[in-house]
Symmetry: C2
Subunit: 420 residues, 2 copies
DNA sequence: AGTACTTGATTCGGTTACCGAACATAGTCT
DNA sequence: AGACTATGTTCGGTAACCGAATCAAGTACT
């Protein structure tokens, strides 16, 4: 078990408490653990652990919950992390919808609200909608007195946390380069933090979903656009300017269709949602017996048809898997993750997508350990990005427990909202 | 200026000294700095800095070298890092040659020895050759009494430092999976550490060459094979199993020539050294007036001809740049480094290679900040890998100065060799 | 030149965050 | 019952810092 990183001398009594935070993280990770086990796995003395734990207990994040099994001596007092001590809001801004999840401190979704909205063109309405859905989540999902820890926001565009006020004007021109969500955080008196949607999907799958235990993973989000998020050594990888993961515009076929980006044959022109629907339409002319024939259909219907074994839908999915496999192979060769998680529109197809995807990817990768990387479908499905947004806040609080302390003072008898 | 990471409590008097190491690193980085400036930029008190510096001075790694300019008060005593306090051996094992560099603590090459050798098929002879060249370097390049800090080794195959005894049997079958160089380290009584050659090329360019200041960079090594090394956040990135950077087998043309790896149209089948020579041969039949016509030529002659403006050679280089550009574009989109450094066989062509490379790469990348990544040629040329091997040792010592202390006790009056 | 002020370096006492030893507690094993 | 073992707490000790005071050596103003 890795040693706890010990703290440095503090001059400021309100400063960070590295050791207390490290112990809190350990308890969080183990869920239930005794003081003696903390000392052992953290490389600390029992006296220090006692001291630190007694500092943590009054926060309510950890409780003593009875005794464990004896290992030949006195039975240990079990400490348990209280997953419901706080709640977190995770907001997903899509290109054309908003979703809000309310989670506990273990990634569990307590409430979920989503609505279609022209996010790209209506910043003011989007801000109001986020507040509305957040209120709804807090009213439906919160038990009395549970403080709100913070709000995480997933953005459908590149985002550099180093420059939080510089939003990409390419994807969201109407937003004029700034998010303007400070008001939402102020409304509840909690911190607000943001990141790119694919990054947060990757984070969620790493913490709670298909990617548990994989410290180096790539998450590929298939939708209208195609992006990837990368976890490297357990942390979100953003690249030099925060725009890593623009995997959708990898050129597959130099002679392919022109893309909005100005290039030809980008992955997104082949397997972006519009391309999939168009391809299905093409195939329908040869297969008038398909269940999709003669009616309008969207990606949900296409997915359903594929699962039902419809020849056209299956063909579309297999072609998409082939194209995606080429890019995944390049990704494996270059970055050598231990896992690739596929999320978004087609992830629900499961093995129908994964089998041809794995075959293409593995036939195009060289080194055996690269080929050994697991390729899986998202476990969290459409909620992964919003859950990841909430996880961003949880991660920050576990790294600096002052966020927990700030939230406690914020607990209200009402739904957690604070009238200022 | 970033704060120095303060030390944890030590129970072991021979344990690591994080603060002393951090101060030493700061002095190394600034080269000349006063105690007061260390306190300021490290976020420490002057009293602590005095104490720590007085602990460092007796090691001889840092000396007081006179007074600096007054800033309105007493003139500061300047401390200077002694770049020549130790020497380091950097060994490059290629597929068919061995090179050894002796460097100081600032990446300066004090001696350089290289010889052709069938490394792949002759492990025992290679080990003896490494020892021979190392001896030669120490005899030529070392001033009396300079201790040897350690030996770094660059390997022409994937290497996972977590499993140092499992060598890829694909690239080096005759080595039977283990390096067997412990004897060389023992011979001089110093530690020996290894890594992949492209990783070490990246490290060298990041520390001393074209990549200085770029905390996220990719280094692409063009040779018989093609590999890349990646620096992420200032550290070598190895991926989950230590084989990241297998960029040579990215598929460019699914209908292309078969590659030794079993795929078709890999980058290496288009711009690996043999492919370049073959392509030049093809073009010669149409251009009998080329300076290359009617004689045998290797990559050095091809490079020379291109620099002289020979049409065939220039055409080969430009085609190669185009193929490489496609892969570089994918790399930029995926990993968003701030710089790409091209090293190896063609790097000497300079702008002749870089201009078409930049054009292809930039025309195939989307986000403006990705396109802003600089694409440069290696500054360290053929020595970069061996220098990087030495840098691996330097880096380790700067992270744990006990290595320096161990080396001091090892100083000999002779060439640094120790008869055991 | 003399004086006030500034910056640099050292000394020394104080504080913090840890450890270790001793002890109380509560279990198992024979 | 007695020996032994593991858990948790108390308490004194100490390494690794800081801060204030002091000495040192420069600049700036009068």
């Amino acid at each position: 078990m890795e040693r706890v990183r010990k703290g440095e001398r503090r001059s400021d009594p309100d400063g960070p408490r590295p050791l207390a935070d490290a112990v809190l993280r350990l308890i969080w990770r183990e869920r239930r653990i005794s003081r003696a086990s903390i000392a052992e796995s953290g490389g600390l003395s029992r006296s220090t652990v006692s001291e630190v734990v007694n500092e943590i207990l009054p926060t309510g994040l950890v409780n003593e919950v009875g005794l464990g099994e004896s290992r030949g001596g006195r039975r240990p007092v079990l400490l348990e992390f209280q997953d419901d001590a706080c709640v977190i809001l995770g907001v997903e801004m899509g290109a054309a919808h908003v979703a809000v999840a309310l989670t506990d401190l273990r990634g569990g979704v307590l409430a979920w609200e989503t609505r279609e909205h022209p996010v790209r063109t209506d910043p003011e309405g989007t801000r109001a909608l986020i507040a509305e859905l957040a209120d709804a989540c807090l009213e439906n999902g919160v038990q009395e007195g549970r403080p709100l820890l913070g709000i995480g926001v997933a953005l459908p565009c590149p985002f550099d946390p180093a420059l939080p006020d510089e939003l990409s004007t390419i994807v969201l021109p109407a937003w004029e380069g700034h998010l303007g969500l400070e008001g939402v955080g102020d409304r509840y008196g909690v911190p607000l933090m943001a990141d790119n949607d694919a990054n947060l999907g990757a984070l969620a799958e790493h913490w709670w979903g298909a990617g548990r235990g994989a410290d180096d993973l790539a998450y590929i989000k298939l939708a209208t656009g195609i992006g990837s998020g990368h976890i490297i050594d357990g942390e979100i990888y953003r690249g030099a300017t925060g725009v890593a993961g623009e995997v959708g515009h990898t050129a597959i076929d130099p002679q392919g269709k022109p893309c909005i980006c100005g290039l030809k044959g980008c992955l997104v022109t082949l397997i972006g949602t519009p391309a999939l629907l168009e391809r299905a339409g093409e195939l329908l002319s040869e297969h008038p017996d398909s269940v999709l024939a003669g009616r309008g259909f969207g990606i949900a219907e296409l997915e359903e048809a594929a699962l039902a074994g419809d020849a056209v839908a299956v063909e579309v999915a297999e072609e998409a898997a082939g194209h995606l496999g080429i890019v995944v192979a390049g990704l494996l060769n270059l970055m050598n993750p231990s896992m690739v998680v596929v999320g978004g529109d087609l992830a629900g197809l499961g093995e129908l997508l994964l089998v041809p995807l794995r075959e293409t990817a593995r036939s195009r990768t060289l080194v055996s350990s690269v080929r050994a990387a697991e390729i899986r479908a998202s476990e969290l499905g459409p909620k992964s990005v919003a859950i990841g947004a909430a996880t961003l806040v949880l991660k920050a609080a576990l790294n600096d427990s002052r966020l927990f302390r700030a939230a406690e003072t914020n607990a209200t008898g009402s739904v957690g909202r604070r009238e200022k």
